[in-house]
């Protein structure tokens, strides 16, 4: 047995020996001229060519050289900068309890990249019997990794009362299918414009708006299953013309994987506004990689308003990126403080369980804990409480939960299925939430994501 095993080795040794033997006389016969060394670049190209050859074999006809025979010359131009304006018609449907079913459509005019894009929209709200829509212009230029975005909008729209969070796809579905849309709405008539500069390291934004804000009443007190809505009344906004200046900035913290951002909104008599307020919001979040197994994502936010108790400037707590065990926007105040930490696994659940699955079903497991509170006068109650920038100790609510994250890889979205349990002595119960969001959801998502 050992002999038979040894034969190939011996044969190999023999061959090597033979090769060596063939070389030996040559050395022994005296010096022979060494071949001229190839020029360095040629050798490098040969080295890269060897790698390319293997690539050619792998990709086959995809990597075949171009056959230049029959190529046209001269006048068949498709100039990038002179591209025709592309038109696209898109139907639209929206639903909320303020407007009911809203049928409409949009006309998108996409010109050359330098010119930008114009979206024209018009829709009729069957419930409120009003026409909504307007025009939005957007131009984004990218140079050396820096995005510069100009946006302008003018028209009439239904906006969410919560300025810090909205769920444009999920809220209409909740309202229509299960009547569980808890958000409040107000009407905007006017215009707004913004300029933003964003790079991988920092961003800055300036925006102005001049909008008439008016309260809305519920006109659709039904859902598809003809059940009563979970929440029917709409928190009434204070009526008036809002002329506002917004300044925002964000940056990555040097040396550590954290980002910070701050946004400041101001309105007052100087801007000939019917409202007078200063609103500030700070947020910080990090992405700490734990080996190759998980990411730890701590986040915190703090915000407050000065000089106003208007519902449209309040901070809201509940669901969304805040506390899962508190229903959406159920609590409000003139100040908000929130901190949460999430541990997100890198592998997907089924793979961890040893179940073979297609990539389509890759869900990342996560666990989280959060605490938060609002303070100051609540928009849901008669004003009277003192404006306080930091919540009192007994106002804090805490929870812990688990989640599944799904990354479809489209538009930077992340689908989150969360189940949370309240911590401490409380009447709140376990609660489930579905959310379309991104991992650092207390901060604005970077453009590159």
């Amino acid at each position: 047995m050992s002999a038979s095993r040894g034969r190939p080795a011996l044969a190999a040794l023999a061959i090597l020996a033979a090769l060596a033997a063939m070389g030996a006389p040559a050395r022994a016969t005296g010096p022979t001229p060494e071949p001229e060394p190839a020029p360095p670049d040629t050798t490098l190209h040969q080295f890269l060519g060897t790698l390319s050859d293997s690539t050619d074999r792998y990709f086959g006809m995809s990597a075949a050289p171009l056959d230049t025979a029959g190529l046209l010359h001269g006048e068949s131009f498709l100039p990038e900068g002179q591209r025709r304006v592309a038109l696209a018609l898109t139907p639209s449907f929206d639903f909320n309890r303020a407007d009911g079913s809203t049928f409409g459509g949009g006309l998108k005019l996409q010109g050359p990249i330098r010119v930008g894009r114009l979206d024209l929209r018009a829709a009729y709200a069957v419930g409120s019997e009003q026409w909504l829509g307007g025009a939005q212009y957007r131009r984004r230029a990218t140079k050396h990794g820096v995005y510069r975005t100009i946006e302008a909008w003018g028209g009439r729209e239904t906006a969410g009362m919560n300025r810090d969070h909205s769920e444009p796809f999920v809220d209409p579905e909740r309202a229509l299918v299960s009547g569980s849309d808890r958000t409040s709405y107000l009407r905007h008539d006017g215009w707004r414009a913004s300029f933003e500069r964003e790079s991988n390291l920092w961003r800055a934004r300036i925006a102005v708006r001049d909008e008439l804000e008016s309260p809305l009443e519920p006109h659709a007190t039904w859902d598809m299953l003809h059940k009563d809505l979970l929440v029917t009344p709409i928190l009434p906004a204070r009526f008036g013309r809002a002329r506002e200046l917004e300044l925002g900035a964000g940056a990555r913290v040097p040396g550590i994987p954290f980002r910070v951002e701050a946004t400041y909104w101001t309105s007052g008599p100087v801007l000939k506004s019917d409202f007078a307020y200063d609103r500030l919001r700070f947020a910080v979040g990090g992405d700490i990689t734990l080996g190759r197994f998980a990411s730890l994502v701590p986040q915190a936010t703090w915000g407050f308003t000065k000089s106003t108790t208007d519902p449209q400037q309040a901070f809201y707590l509940g669901a969304g990126p805040t506390l899962v065990t508190v229903p959406r926007d159920a609590l409000g105040g003139s100040a908000l403080a929130l901190a949460k930490v999430e541990l997100i696994g890198a592998s997907d659940v089924l793979a961890l369980l040893g179940i073979h699955r297609p990539e389509l079903f890759a869900f990342q497991p996560a666990a989280f804990a959060a605490t938060g509170a609002v303070s100051g006068p609540s928009p849901y109650a008669t004003p009277g409480a003192a404006v306080d920038r930091w919540p009192e100790r007994q106002a804090w609510l805490s929870e812990a939960g688990i989640a599944l994250h799904y990354n479809p890889g489209i538009l930077g979205m992340r689908l989150r299925f969360e189940e949370a349990w309240p911590l401490g002595f409380t009447s709140r119960g376990e609660r489930f939430e579905f959310l379309i969001s991104h991992p650092l959801d207390l901060l604005r998502k970077p453009i590159e994501e």
Partner: protein, 280 residues
């Protein structure tokens, strides 16, 4: 006695060349501690960033032929690969922001009945010549987003070629790319890159990216993008493409810094009407 020994030695010596005494001499050399500093990974990354920036700065304009291909059934048992479309462009770029792309051939295996805008498979070229597709992970602003390590060094001719692997620091987005680049240390430019994805970046559509190769070649002393090849497997069979398909972009026939006239990029009346070459 010595004479006898010499005679015997001559008589018994094999025919053929005779080894000189000095050829069989043995000696020993003591250990030598080499104190030459080794280039650190950080220095290499700095030099790559500078090398790429320098490479970009040397280009004022460029003209090239770009071939975009889509190949269906690229790796499916029982189905031969099929060239679905091939579009060849003549592309002109000039600093700071001028670009023009000319279609010089358009082939589609199954031309759609709709002759409108949607029927055209469009490839857009930007004016930038820094080739971000090659160096995206090695730009200064990307340094904190990736981890790097030296995989190996190859001495090729007069060049030292470093192989440097990179992977994203964050695990939050599993579809981020990792990869391996070959860096020629004569110019400190990336000459080849193989990109891999641990997980599909678009699981709704793609089961996986099987392979992604990006190659540069030297044209007129400048390292320029030569081709980018991707093979992907779809989650479900795509119409006409099947499950496995290739996307390829090849760039040839470069002409650099020829002083392209601004008029080449000027608007052309009636250009829209003749902007597309007939299908082959």
């Amino acid at each position: 006695m010595p004479l006898l020994a010499i005679v015997l030695a001559v008589a018994l010596a094999p025919a053929g060349p005779t080894l000189a005494v000095e050829d069989t001499m043995h000696t020993a050399v003591g250990e030598v501690l080499v104190r030459a500093p080794r280039v650190t990974l950080g220095e290499i990354l700095d030099r790559v960033a500078r090398g790429e920036a320098r490479r970009d700065s040397l280009l004022t304009d460029q003209t090239f032929l770009a071939t975009a291909r889509v190949v269906a059934h690229a790796n499916e048992p029982g189905k031969p690969p099929e060239l679905m479309s091939e579009t060849v462009f003549r592309v002109y770029k000039k600093r700071p922001d001028k670009v023009r792309a000319v279609v010089v051939r358009r082939y589609q295996a199954h031309p759609p009945k709709d002759k409108g805008v949607r029927a055209k498979a469009e490839v857009r070229f930007g004016p930038d010549m820094s080739e971000e597709i090659v160096n995206f992970a090695f730009r200064p602003e990307a340094r904190r987003d990736y981890r790097y390590h030296i995989v190996g060094r190859d001495i090729v001719g007069g060049h030292v070629v470093y192989r440097i692997a990179f992977e994203p620091r964050s695990l939050l987005t599993p579809g981020y790319p990792s990869g391996l680049v070959w860096v020629d240390t004569n110019d400190f430019v990336i000459v080849r890159q193989e990109v891999s994805f641990g997980r599909s970046p678009v699981p709704l559509i793609l089961e996986r990216i099987d392979r992604l190769v990006i190659e540069r070649a030297q044209f007129g002393g400048h390292w320029l993008l030569k081709r980018a090849l991707v093979r992907a497997t779809a989650t479900v069979p795509l119409p006409r493409l099947g499950r496995s398909f290739d996307l390829a972009l090849q760039l040839d026939d470069y002409a650099l810094n020829t002083g392209l006239a601004d008029t080449l990029f000027a608007p052309r009346r009636g250009g829209d009407a003749s902007d597309e070459a007939p299908a082959r």
